[in-house]
Amino acid sequence: MSIESNKQELTELIYQLADDDFIHAHRGSEWLGLAPHIEEDVAFSSINQDTMGHATMYYRILSELGEGKADDLSHLRKKEQFRNAIILEEKNGTGEYLDSPNYDWAFTVIRHLFYDVAKKIRLESLKQSSYEPLADAARKMLTEQYYHLLHWKIWFKQLMTSTEEARDRMETAIKRVWKDFGGVLTLGPHAEKMVSAGLIEDEAALRERFIDQIQELFNEVNYSIDNEPLMIRGDGRNGEHTEDLEHALKTLSEVYVSDPQATGW
């Protein structure tokens, strides 16, 4: 791989990784102070910090590739420039984080579990990436991934095997996340070039691993699903996004854009 001739697929891939982590951590951070249980609130926040930290590492790599300042990349790009999967931008619930949020814990557990399973598979593959800074970042991130997965697996198993109400809510959440989780599993329009440049393994292999691992988790709690994860609302890797992302970007950049003369915060 040479940076010059593979620049586009390289940056496209890193934008996907960075934006996935960034938006996912943003949604997680909105829960701060509102989790079902104080002890869980503290634990969940660590996971969000780790994930936001990973996004920061990716934005720095992009920065080194000449894409601009990490803070500008995360706070100034337009909706269409984001490469995250649509399922990750979806709001946590019907309300706003400051006012009757009405957040859905079952949805959060499922989205986080699925994401962390997929992320671990992706990181394992990136360890072999032909782009060394990416391989190096992946190795570092993997050390934190074990705890994230452990945490969400326990929540998943326990809620799936507790009350009928919890089981119902969890099954509804699985179906909801499943319909768009394909968006996380895809590498987007530049997939082939990414693979031929040795940046990451091909989409089908990663996807198969994901389905196997989820199937295993489902088996443990006597659950099964027929179809494969879909991408019904569009491909975020292609710049397709929903109002929820627009809204999130407005919130998270509110202060950063509020004083164009400011050089530091």
Partner: protein, 323 residues
């Protein structure tokens, strides 16, 4: 001093004397030790209020977590607010153990909060409309909290002291975080400086109120005397407020901010700061749950609590069923 009698055989009065002896010898009282009801009630009042204040204190800053201007600030404020939730965890555990013999637990603490029977610090009833407020909170509200928490580190109640020790260790990070936020704005554009000054103006009275009234005259009652007798605290409200002035007024002026009280001055002769008293009637109103943001914040806490009731309900049932 117990001679051949075992502790259980002592009369209530002897137990009380034994207890006060321990307090006066600076021994630490533990959760399962005998303690007079008066002491237990004083501890529950103090620690449940402190604990729930940490939890409610997460909310005004939490507003700025997703909005924090840079990646670094986003990470740091998340860590800071997380710590505050963690402080709430430590303190509520201490309060819960004290309440257990009375048949109460965390659910009761929450419902007391929702019905405004359990009060929280005045500062967390206030609005935080700009990023400047997040900076002033982290610098000065935490600064004030550090002073009162450090003062209690040597408290006679062992579990409270251990919680405070952990808390104070983390507060040193909060202090740096706060200073860093404030300095960035103070070094910044005119607009950033103005944002900071406006926030200071908004918070000044609340900061003075934070330490509580000088004496019984201002509010009619105070628990300070009892807390000193039981060695739960060592300084009065006014002593702490004076220390706060000494530590922060020179710094506030150094970075070009103005203290929004024209009368504030240090009197060399009496070695004290003179200042304009805040409105203590307003203070009473605020802490009884009638501050500008009291209802909103309690509603937010309550709705999220009720919204996740099913989770606690569900896991309360699996305790033995899983792995």
């Amino acid at each position: 001093m117990l001679d051949h009698l075992t502790f259980d055989q002592l009369s209530e009065e002897q137990k009380y004397d034994h207890f006060m002896d321990r307090i006066n010898r600076d021994e630490k009282i533990e959760a399962d030790d005998w303690m007079p009801d008066d002491y237990r009630i004083a501890l529950i009042r103090l620690i449940s209020m402190h604990g729930i204040s940490e939890i409610m204190g997460a909310l005004p800053e939490k507003e700025w977590v997703p909005k924090a201007p840079t990646l670094h600030r986003k990470l740091a404020i998340m860590a800071k607010v997380q710590d505050e939730m963690g402080h709430g965890q430590l303190l509520l555990r201490v309060a819960e153990d004290l309440m257990k013999p009375l048949g109460k637990n965390r659910d009761n603490i929450m419902s007391d909060l929702f019905t405004k029977r359990l009060k929280f610090h005045n500062v967390f009833h206030m609005a935080s409309p700009t990023w400047g407020d997040a900076a002033i909170i982290a610098w000065l509200v935490d600064g004030a909290a550090i002073m009162s928490q450090t003062m209690m580190l040597d408290t006679s109640y062992g579990p409270y002291g251990r919680a405070l020790k952990r808390i104070c260790q983390e507060e040193s990070f909060h202090a740096k975080h706060g200073e860093s936020l404030v300095l960035s704005l103070a070094e910044g554009t005119d607009r950033q400086k103005q944002m900071l000054q406006d926030a200071l103006n908004r918070w000044w009275d609340a900061l003075l109120m934070f330490f509580g009234p000088k004496s019984k005259q201002e509010t009619g009652h105070t628990n300070v005397d009892k807390n000193i007798k039981y060695k739960l605290r060592t300084k009065t409200n006014e002593q702490l407020r004076q220390e706060f002035f000494t530590k922060y007024i020179p710094k506030i002026e150094l970075i070009g901010l103005k203290v929004p009280d024209k009368t504030v001055r240090f009197d060399e002769e009496s070695n004290t700061w003179h200042y304009q008293d805040p409105d203590w009637n307003e203070f009473k109103q605020i802490v009884s749950g009638n501050g500008p943001k009291s209802d909103d914040r309690i509603r937010l806490r309550q709705s999220s609590y009720e919204n996740t009731e099913w989770v606690r309900e569900a896991l309360g049932h699996v305790k033995t069923a899983v792995v």
